[in-house]
Amino acid sequence: MLGRRFPKEFVERYSQLIPDFDAFLEAMQRPLRRTFRVNTHKATRKQVLELMADLKPEPLPWFELGFSLAENGVGPSEREDARESTHFPSLGKRIEHFIGLIYVQEAASMAPPLVLQPEPGECVLDIAAAPGSKTTEMSAMMENTGIIISNDPSPTRVRGLIGNIDRAGCLNVAVCRMDGTSLGRALEGKCDRVLVDAPCSSEGTIRKSAQALDHWSVAAIERFPSVQKRLILAGYHALKPGGVMVYSTCTVAPEEDESIVAHLLDRQPEAEVCVAELPGLTMRPGLRGWGGESFPDAVERCRRILPQDNDTEPFFLARIRRPA
């Protein structure tokens, strides 16, 4: 089963990288739990819990506004069937979703804004924002004040981004459709916080859809670092002195994660990588090297979220500060 589902190259590659590889592989085969976030622009946590009591939402240990669904005791192998059954109508078809009281969002994807910690009244750049889960989360954290410049270069994706911003009721968002590098240049030194949730090979989505595995290859991974390097530099340049940036991806490929942070440190040696912590969420340190490349010591302060630790998608996070 493992050999059939996961390409040999995938197994060879990540068995070197992840010490408890069997647990990783087992977790990657399980469908994702359904999770959502309470949108505090429109409702309180208590109101949403009352409205959705029939689904028995369970709070995420690291985020009081994030919830997973208990699935009525259905085991992992039966979850996909259960999702389609009448007992579990899609969250997206519920009134609470339509009116924006909740935002359906993968649990690990809620982490980057929590690590970035935008505050009310600040100027924040979300440089690769579509479909908008993190923009809308940050908007709520900022209590609909200040400004989030929410950007995506794709005309199709930006339509979805605007739809989600509307539904979530975000009044503090300006949407741009620009190349991220140009935008970073235009906003040079103007932002308190920057989120670079970079386009990536999306290995994390394998848990969401088995088809993602069909598209997996090392060649696919190699397509992303050039744009990721440009975006992390653009995001850094947009920071005010003393500003904070989070670089994140939903992949475990070091070429798209630690290697990109190492690239930033090579170009901007003064940049400070800070340890990202979220009480209740297990995260592992960044790698020291990969594929013959050694990373600077500071890269170890990056954080890896692995599926076997918290039953989420895999994610990578780096919290970077531009010195004052």
């Binding site: 339509f98 400004i147 009721g169 009044l171 968002v173 949407v175 741009c176």
Partner: protein, 137 residues
């Protein structure tokens, strides 16, 4: 306060404080509302600022569903309270015959204390003005 925003505030009895810390702008027969920082942002030209609050027609101002969902929560006039079935019917594009305590014209549709969208009431018919979306079950 922007004239169109004031009209909406008066029709629906929305306290003016709701709009106090917000700015509005009109662009191509549409009223947008957002924070002052968003409306004054000029480092680059955004394709969208804030959210659409209303469409301007020659003889009326039509509030948007998404604008009213976030800013209409405290409305006191021309609000129609819906039960579960009525809410689903209207969200899915239907219409109802009902006696409502509302003037003819645009009304806010409220379900369990939350504005679900905008309707058009011409006694006794209440028609949904909610944009088409994935059906709600």
């Amino acid at each position: 306060m922007n004239r169109r925003v004031r009209e909406l505030s008066e029709r629906f009895g929305i306290p003016t404080e709701v709009f106090e810390r917000l700015s509005a702008l009109e662009d191509q027969e549409t009223v947008f509302v957002g924070t002052p920082e968003v409306m004054e942002f000029d480092e680059v030209r955004p394709m969208r600022r804030g959210i659409r609050l209303a469409r301007i027609y020659p003889y009326s101002v039509k509030p948007t569903t998404f604008g009213m969902q976030v800013l209409g929560a405290l409305a006191t006039r021309n609000v129609v309270e819906l039960d579960d079935e009525q809410a689903k019917l209207l969200i899915n594009g239907g219409s109802l015959n009902m006696e409502a305590e509302a003037d003819n014209g645009f009304v806010l549709l409220r379900w369990k204390g939350f504005v679900v969208g905008v309707g058009f009431y011409k006694r006794p018919v209440l028609k949904s003005q909610i944009p088409r979306c994935r059906p709600v079950e």
